[in-house]
Point group: C2
Chain length 473, copies 2
């Protein structure tokens, strides 16, 4: 494993030099965290379809347990159990519009991961960066367990466990544990642990978790794996996925309508129902889940003992347990929404559950339709503090410090921006597909993926390193 | 499947133009024989080890169910459920000796399959051709079910089902059903069905099966799969392999000594024992097999209710049922040696069972040690006709027509040539590995193979065609 160790050192050096102003040392987050033998214990995967321009190029990398779709280039990178979903990469000939200016895309966009170490990270390709429209770059960076890199090129960054960067370009930044950032561009910034931060052109929203609560749910440790309720939750279910990945032909034993897609690497068990136009992505986890028409479960999401009525979105890494969702509810990245047996959670139609919201009930809870919800909620009193009707938020047009949140600017723009985005997601996923409206999305196209499975060298000086692999149409 | 159909037509045209002098038409052997949907039903595989220079390059090909090891290039080819084992390809820096002349190998040898259609064929890389030492070429050719291409570059050829070409370079030849050819070079020749033909510099051996017997065991049909006892035998067991290929982590539930290798794609069942230095290759089939030290079961071989004492060789495609083999028995390609319950077959030490021998017993049979055996044998009387002690064969030094065989030249050279080759095979397989003699072979090196699994496009205009894949160290 000499070459693998060298590669880890290479990444550490590159991250550290980029983050020198913060005196950051990546070593304790890179070494000892994943036992080296894991690097040969898991296969990598790539998906091939006729719908996405494919081009894979893997050089001097370890890709253990990772999954690639689209046009993906990795060199000198460790990509451990990471999902790289390039199905929304821009294609040659597309027009790209940014702030009213439109220009053509000259070559198929690629995700390029270079000199980076990503652990159980989710990368999704919906990129907004106008400065580099044809290359989605992740360079000289490290990310921890269950971080999400969503449409966010990053260079010289450290993303702590369960953090999310969403439609944000980052240069030399540290994003804290369980922090969510959607802020356009960030340069040489350090975002503290547990910060939920949305910044648009005309609004800004910020919430910060109390340290004691954050530590209980997720705690980043030096020289060891993270700990806490969120980590326990996902780690205790990882063996269920093992059988899914060990089988060469996993097919869930349920009825899947022809206009819906259940990924071959999803875990589906119990009394689960899949409606029309439903998208279940790889590494989604469904037990006793009733998935109504147009709903989706994105990568690393968990839906357990829950019913999603219609057109609900479960973003990457979100967890929904013992809950009922009305129509068109948006559950953001890495949310943890946990009702309990006898203490159900009910979320009314049109609610927006902000990314990284934790609802962990100690009494039954009903969230009124058309609410925006954030923060940490255990009961009705918490909900009162941590929610606002959409209609009220839309009226706000000033800077406020509302207990635990800071808000600036136009509430209307935030709400309408979110609603627009929700519609875009539903459309991209194919939730609106009908016999009349034939526009297909991921749910309709997701059947026909070929899965190719790759392994590293198991012996010799390159043990743990994958051979150089190039795949083109 | 437009592109797949085009590819089949392309191959047919190229085979036909090469074989025009025989008025040969490949169409009925290429079309309707394999349902097109099979071309997307099976994954391809390639093996990666630190012991073999790897380089795979697959372009505009279908590779359904096939396996590749070593340096393999395919373009415009259909390689259906074919094993391409490149573990004896010559390496850069090797010295190659042919008829006393030695010269260096400048680049790693590659198997190149081009404009060809191979159905369930076994290709093994031990090539002898001095004229093209760095490229093992299979071009403009077709081969049928369970043919063996063993160290034999071929161009413009048709190999009928269950035929073998062994260490022979072929140009524009037709090799008949169940025929075996080991003859150095062949140009524009047609070898009739059921011909077993060995031609060395100083000897020649030829045997021809009676048509009625041949038809009973294997019959090549137009526009359909071959029929007969041999075909039924293998096809009735193919479902046992399905589970092996469907599992991502098949490990036979038996003890495998550290110096032996049981390939992950072998089928092993019943009360089977694996001794030291044993090699079980992919698609070998073992049920109640006692594999003594140094024995091997090569690709597509079947060993059922049988005991192989020591250093026995089961060549590609050979079948051994209800039999006992003494030490160092050689069972040639595609042999069918079938004792029956209560009618056991016993083969004494040092026997050479010629390739394509059929022993299908109607009474118990004991073959004396140190015999050469050929042809079709059901009982003691047949054995008398179809065998000769090694010591007697060594004395022959003239041309004879011995009932059903033709022999010319030096019996000594034939026997010693065979014995030399048997020793080479045992050494290459690692049968002689000990704590003192550390020279490893396939049995010792075979553990550490990574298996990478690839699939074609499942939809679109390239349905059934694999993407272009290039893999290098």
């Amino acid at each position: 494993m000499k070459q693998v160790e060298k590669l880890i050192d290479r990444v550490i050096n590159r991250v550290n030099i980029n983050l020198r102003e913060f005196n950051f040392d990546a070593t304790p987050y890179a070494k000892k965290v994943i036992p080296l033998k894991q690097m040969i214990n898991f296969d990598g995967f790539y998906g091939i379809t006729s719908h996405h321009p494919i081009h894979f190029n893997f050089i001097h990398s370890n890709l253990a347990g990772s999954y690639f779709l689209g046009k993906c280039i990795t060199d000198h990178a460790l990509v451990y159990k990471t999902d790289v979903r390039g199905d929304e990469l821009k294609k040659k000939g597309d027009d790209f519009t940014y702030q009213g200016t439109s220009f053509p895309i000259d070559t198929d966009e690629a995700i390029r991961i270079c000199d980076s170490y990503l652990i159980k990270t989710l990368i999704h390709s919906f990129s907004h960066d106008p400065e580099s429209p044809e290359e989605f770059l992740i360079r000289n960076s490290m990310s921890g367990f269950y971080a999400n890199i969503h449409g966010s090129p990053i260079e010289g960054c450290y993303l702590a466990p369960f953090s999310t960067v969403d439609l944000t370009t980052l240069h030399s930044c540290i994003i804290g544990t369980f922090s969510y950032v959607c802020a356009g561009d960030l340069y040489h910034a350090q975002v503290p642990d547990g910060t939920i931060w949305l910044k648009g052109d005309t609004f800004e929203f910020k919430y910060t978790f109390e340290k004691a609560i954050l530590d209980k749910y997720i705690n980043n440790n030096l020289d060891a794996r993270p700990t806490g309720i969120l980590m326990d939750f996902v780690e205790s279910r990882k063996y269920d996925f093992q059988a899914v990945f060990d089988s060469a032909t996993n097919k869930p034993d349920i009825n899947v309508p022809s206009q819906s897609a259940v990924n071959r690497y999803a875990y589906v068990a119990g009394d689960t129902t899949i409606g029309e136009n439903v998208l279940i992505s790889q590494r989604a986890y469904l037990v006793n889940a009733w998935m109504g028409p147009g709903t989706n479960a994105q990568e690393n999401s968990y839906i357990i003992n829950s019913r999603l009525e219609k057109n609900d979105i479960t973003a990457h890494g979100a967890k929904i347990i013992n809950a009922w969702l009305g129509e068109k509810v948006f559950v953001g990245f890495n949310c943890f929404l946990q009702g309990k047996p006898g203490l159900p959670l009910s979320i009314g139609q049109g609610c927006i559950i902000m990314p990284h919201t934790i609802i962990d009930l100690e009494e039954p809870l009903e969230i009124q339709a058309e609410s925006v919800v954030w923060g940490y909620i255990q009961n009705k009193a918490d909900l009162e503090q941590n929610s606002i009707p959409l209609s009220e938020l839309k009226k706000i047009n000033k800077d406020i410090e509302h207990k635990n949140i800071m808000f600036k600017g136009s509430g209307k723009d935030l709400v309408e921006g979110f609603q627009q985005r929700i519609d875009n997601i539903l459309e991209a996923n194919g939730a609106y597909f009908t016999n009349e409206n034939k526009k297909t999305g991921h749910a309709q196209k997701g059947h026909s993926i070929s899965y190719n499975i790759i392994q590293p060298y198991l012996t010799g000086k390159n043990k743990g390193i994958f051979p150089s692999i190039s795949i083109r149409p």
